[in-house]
Amino acid sequence: MFRQAFRGWDGGIFKFRITRPDRTVDARYASIDDCVFHEQMLFTQPYWLGFVPCPFAGVVSKDLLDQTATVSIPNAGVSDPEYVMFPRNVSGRNCFPRPASVGSGNSQDGYVSEAWAIRMVSITATSLTLRFTKPALSLQSPLGCSVVLMKRG
């Protein structure tokens, strides 16, 4: 007789598992692929969904702008999370991977378009730093970037 569900401490590890109906493996020893639920699914918990404002949001300039922005995040005991970035463009849309943009202008005064880039710089246990770069002659700046941080489990 095997168990289809197991919850409790086993060998120093908290296990919380429900196996798939078509599997005959004991829940206590089941891999995540054998489960409809497995405690490791909890351990990859997303722990921050937030917004990082661009330091030069709203600026219209033909100059190169290149700045970093740092925000505080809750200390969830994680220093190397998984992350996903959703840039937010000049008109407030979350655009992944980035907005398409076509703008008129010339090589002297610049173009009314969005050619910026956003990079992840660093994530510590308590802070997150992004780098926003707007190239010269592309006039528009992003508003910022939505970020999802997730534990690795």
Binding site: Y47, L49, A76, V84, A100, S113
Partner: protein
């Protein structure tokens, strides 16, 4: 008092890291905390990008929209992947920049826009750098919001 390393209470599911007590552990010493966010897949399926009549910057793109049955408070966390005819999954966001003729064009292979009530997906309709993009895309909408 014995160490209580996990419990299910009216606060939710609480699991401390081994050796810590859920009643006293700091957030950093919790394996799972109901004080942090959680996500589930709220919607998933496929959408097909088709021709549309919108102007720049989307004239070179096909478009697909998925309207949510119930709007979220804010734009949800959404992912997409193009499904090739051979079953492969396509996510590479290559970008083509061109300047001249009075215009600067910045054209990613695809653009996913998330709103509280829908997603709009634009897919480049011509062979992008030698890659012919699929028009069938899988989407995942998670039950939590950006911001």
């Amino acid at each position: 008092m014995a160490t209580l390393e996990a419990r299910i209470s009216n606060a939710g599911i609480e699991i401390a890291k081994p050796g810590f007590d859920v009643r006293t552990a700091s957030l950093a010493n919790m394996a799972f905390s109901p004080n942090l966010v959680a996500m589930r897949v709220a919607l998933e399926g496929t959408i097909t990008a088709v021709p549309h009549s919108e102007g720049a910057p989307y004239t070179a793109y096909y478009k697909a929209t998925k309207v949510f049955p119930t709007p979220f408070p804010d734009p949800p966390y959404a992912l997409v992947a193009g499904i090739g005819s051979d079953g492969t999954s396509y996510q590479a966001p290559f970008v083509i920049n061109t300047a001249g003729g009075g215009f600067l064009e910045v054209t990613p292979h695809f653009e996913l826009n998330t709103y509280a009530d829908r997603i709009d997906l634009y897919v480049m309709q011509w062979s992008a750098g030698g890659v012919l993009l699929p028009t069938t895309w899988k989407y995942w909408i998670f039950q939590n919001t950006l911001y």
